[in-house]
Symmetry: C2
């Protein structure tokens, strides 16, 4: 009992993650009440993001053009490299303002059960960066070799993320033993209480305890 | 630290109701992982819905073309008319499969504090339909006058919706005293328990009690 164009938009909204059929219907009605130029802005943004965004040739983060804004930024510390699973992991780290180095996006994590092995991730490119540097980037001019002194492995605290971190630690220990490889701390989230912490998190918090 | 086209799409998503900045960011990353034709389908659906959808000239429901699919349907009972506040109220009623008449969409509800008076709603058009009928519609051919015998007022059970229902009841009692005007029952929602019912709903449930 709905016009076909309404059904089509509701179906397209419902394909987005976390949006069920009722929310999709509500969004569709909302769109109908908005001015046409506002709706065109959303439609245009959808098309442009697909046309303009590709992978950074250095770090595989999302980029408009050949390099991402972080790799292009000369104020970034060339001695630090943070390894993440996906582009979505970069923004939360940037929000902390704790980290001023560059990134390397793996494109996933090792998971033999899902058929994801080392060749499916940007691991070779990571090792090449750590060993030989990024000759084209500001802060590493003339290709005088790598200035990276620390690799912070920020894969997720999951089975796949841990396996990936261990693999990177082992490989870099062999290929670039002068480089420090670190892992983000695991423990209780700030604001949580002990009573509701799961035993794995609490176990990690104990294992990683520090002197006050 | 994000490309401009990503920021634009996240901002456009965040203007949708119930979508905060984090969800907007997540949707944006999702779009980046989807095939281009799937994203174009959503963009195209957004533009088409604005281009194709207008108001039904009979009932003010959403319509592609001059009349909505319900007004055009000759199997609809021409004796029944259901009055709702907005187009979004039609679909939940249709889902019940309890109602086989036509609709009249008011475009809101009376609310003096919000400056919404009778002239802001499609009340005159409602009264004209009830008194004179819908001469152009199947089931009411040749303009032989109204066949409507019952008007079901399905405005929301809110202050504004109740005020609108009372107004319609009073006006139609004067203009079309032969027509029965009814109101949807108020009471406990199916599946609810008494313990958690608010007192207004419980009071309505008592007032509207029926013989078993």
């Amino acid at each position: 009992v709905q016009p076909a164009s309404i059904e089509r938009l509701a179906a397209a909204f419902a394909r987005l993650p976390g949006i069920g059929p009722r929310t999709a219907q509500r969004l569709t009605y909302h769109v109908l009440t908005r001015p046409e130029d506002e709706v065109r802005t959303l439609a245009q943004a959808l098309i442009e993001v697909k046309e303009l965004i590709g992978e950074c040739r250095i770090c595989f983060n999302l980029a408009e053009g050949p390099e991402c804004v972080i790799c292009r930024d000369p104020r970034r510390d060339p001695a630090l490299l943070c390894v993440v699973e996906g582009p979505a992991d970069v923004l939360p780290i940037e929000r902390t303002h704790e980290y001023r180095g560059r990134y390397h996006v793996l494109g996933g994590a090792l998971s033999p059960v899902d058929g994801i092995g080392p060749q499916d991730l940007h691991l070779e490119e990571l090792y090449r960066r750590v060993v030989a540097g990024d000759p084209d980037l500001p802060g590493d001019p003339g290709g005088t070799g790598s200035r990276i002194t620390e690799v912070v492995v920020a894969t997720n605290p999951t089975t796949a993320g841990e396996a990936t971190a261990l693999q990177i630690g082992a490989d870099l220990g062999r290929l670039a033993p002068q480089v420090t490889v670190t892992r983000l701390a695991s423990g209780l989230p700030v604001g949580a209480d002990l009573e509701h912490a799961d035993e794995v998190t609490l176990g990690r918090a104990f294992a990683g305890r520090r002197a006050l």
